[in-house]
């Protein structure tokens, strides 16, 4: 069922069993799990079914610290969320990503990779991916040309990625959601405030507004906040009438530990003998599976480095590419995407099947850092909510890790006697902790309501419930305790399915 909140009678009271705030990958994945159930699900979406600049403008905000993309353009604010322009890169977090690592501050999840495995398998279907298998051996059976650059050993391994078509959630899930009798989708229903009881232990209702001037209240037994990492933090911080620090923020953690994947050109791979390296090849829209080079858990532990991967692009093509940070530079996400696509087109050109030189492009987690954070500005958006500011901070650990990963790859190529690695200039001096102007991110926002069993270290518990509030849950990558190397969509979808199962098991107890 679909209701346009702009057309509802002003000051309506909407009631249901579960209120899901946000209709992106996380919110829709949860809603779909409750399709045709006996429960009334309220799904709130701030935008409509198409891009609307007035709504998109609500995401605008300042950025400070490390240069970043325009906040207004990073996430899409309509039904389907950012799946409206994502690229479909999917892979799982590695077991080490969930572990406590003494060299990574605040690392360690209260769940393991094994806990997520069954949900990863289910999430594959949501995102129209292939079988839940990310081993090279498995994919070599159907792709005999997949020859690894190096025989896998205890240093370098091949991390498999699968590619979603990419699934646009607005296209795939609009009809099932709209046609479901028990799911009440409200578009143009921006949550501007969450109201708790007197001691902020229980959510009573949320307030939704839109630029048509309508205001409504939504009451439910359970609330799931699924608005993306920046907006989740923003609405919690802005809901500060009962607690000046905001909701779920007794330990000053909401908005902190904002993480991105650093995505950056980092080096060159030179081979003594030309090779197509088809295992690592990516042709957007065609490639379903490929690999990136990764460093084993053993080496990460020994070298005390972060987890990251390297993709390979023929150097001749890579030299035609402009840095993403320079392309995705418009406040209008449609324009920024056009710029990116134009950049991709420029990259295309005559490419030999076999190449002797490849560009190395690193994607790597950043360590949780409380100073990398979302805060509120005095300025308010058109619905009266304080705007969010991103202060993005990177540390020496990220840079040292990138450098060390290249050393390890170079070492293994030397042992094999097949080639050499050259790092880009910004990595030459091991004492230089600065970042070059072309440093970019993957538009992956994580960590602002991080997960921990300890309320002093995390905003949500292992079930994504906000510590200290019995009926408020959070879905999405804001719950990630650490970022791993892969793009977050597969993991956040798996985590959302896990949350949904938890709610099914406990709905009558909450």
């Amino acid at each position: 069922m679909h209701i346009d909140a702009r057309k509802s009678e002003n000051n309506s009271l909407i009631e249901g069993d579960i209120c899901i705030i946000g209709a992106g990958a996380a919110g829709i994945s949860i809603a779909m799990e409750w399709l045709n159930s006996p429960y009334k699900i309220i799904l709130l979406e701030g935008g409509g079914f198409e891009y609307d600049d007035k709504v998109q403008e609500l995401y605008d905000g300042k950025t400070t610290g490390q240069h970043y993309y325009p906040l207004k353009a990073c996430r899409l604010h309509y039904f389907g969320g950012t799946t409206g322009h994502w690229a479909g890169f999917c892979s799982t977090l590695d077991p080490i990503d969930f572990k406590k690592r003494d060299w990574v501050p605040e690392s360690g999840w209260p769940i393991t990779r094994a806990d997520l495995d069954p949900f990863y398998a289910r999430a594959q279907k949501n995102l129209d991916l292939g079988p839940y298998n990310y081993s090279l051996d498995f994919w070599q059976k159907s792709h005999p040309s997949f020859k690894p650059l190096l025989q896998e050993d205890q240093v370098i391994w091949n991390k498999i990625w699968q590619f979603s078509p990419p699934t646009r959630f607005d296209e795939k899930y609009r009809d099932p959601i709209v046609n479901a009798k028990n799911i009440h989708l409200y578009t143009y229903a921006n949550v501007t405030e969450i109201t708790a009881n007197e001691n902020t232990s229980h959510i009573k209702e949320v307030t939704v507004k839109n630029y048509a001037g309508k205001e409504h209240k939504v009451r439910a037994r359970i609330f799931v906040l699924a608005c993306c990492a920046i907006q989740n933090a923003r609405v919690l911080l802005a809901s500060n009438k009962q607690n000046q620090h905001g909701l779920g923020n007794d330990h000053d953690l909401v908005g902190r530990n904002f993480m991105e994947h650093i995505e950056i050109s980092s080096g060159e791979l030179w081979l003594a003998k030309a090779d197509s390296l088809s295992l690592y090849h990516l042709d957007f829209g065609i490639t379903k599976v490929r690999s990136e080079l990764a460093v084993t858990e053993k080496m990460q532990v020994e070298n005390k480095i972060l987890n990251g991967t390297m993709s390979l692009t023929p150097l001749s093509s890579a030299k035609r590419m402009k840095p993403m940070i320079d392309l995705f530079n418009s406040n209008d996400p449609r324009k920024s995407m056009e710029n990116l696509k134009a950049g991709d087109e420029a990259e295309k050109g005559p490419v030999d099947n076999k190449n002797r030189s490849y560009s190395l492009f690193t994607r790597i987690e950043q360590a949780p850092n409380p100073d990398s954070r979302i805060t509120l500005e005095p300025e308010r958006d058109s619905l009266g909510v304080p705007r969010g500011t991103l202060h993005w901070i990177l540390t020496a650990l990220e840079k040292r890790s990138i450098r060390r990963i290249h050393e390890l790859l170079g070492q293994q190529l030397g042992v094999a006697g097949i080639g050499r690695v050259r790092m880009l200039e910004y990595l030459h001096d091991e004492n230089d902790t600065s970042w070059p102007s072309f440093t970019g991110g993957g538009w992956h926002h994580m960590g602002t309501t991080r997960m921990s069993d300890d309320p002093r270290k995390g905003v949500v518990d292992a079930n994504c419930k906000v510590h200290g509030i019995d009926n408020l849950f959070i879905a999405g990558s804001s719950c990630f305790a650490t970022a791993g190397a892969p793009n977050p969509t597969l993991t956040l979808t798996a985590l959302s399915l896990r949350l949904s199962d938890h709610l099914k098991e406990n709905i009558n107890k909450i």
């Binding site: 081979l271 290249h406 070492q411 790092m423």
Partner: protein, 130 residues
Amino acid sequence: MKRSTFIYYAAVGTAMAVVPLPGCKSNKLSVLEKPQLLSRICDVNTIMDIGKSYRNTFPDNSRQQLMDHIMARTESKVIFPNASNRSIGSFVEEKVKDDFKSGRILVIKGWVLSQTEARQCALFSLTKQN
């Protein structure tokens, strides 16, 4: 890639070299100052840059010391003074791999190199300088 240029220059450099390896003919130098794999992927200027950078970092290395280091026996291998160029070449190539296996690695001008091949570059740059 300017592999042929490199080989040409190496030959000229050898002709100019006046300090032969003890017990070796002077043309052995061309083997020592030519990092095999690196010379297949880098041009002369790159090898020169690497060599100069190595010598800046380790200024105390004379030509003779560099040659001695390159020819020094390893735990498992030794090269005899009258060995053929081919044998010396194989010995050095193995030594480069051993360096990588053992972690004797240097990062010079961004290149992740074995200690031995870095010394080869240094020797090459010395030859050109002279």
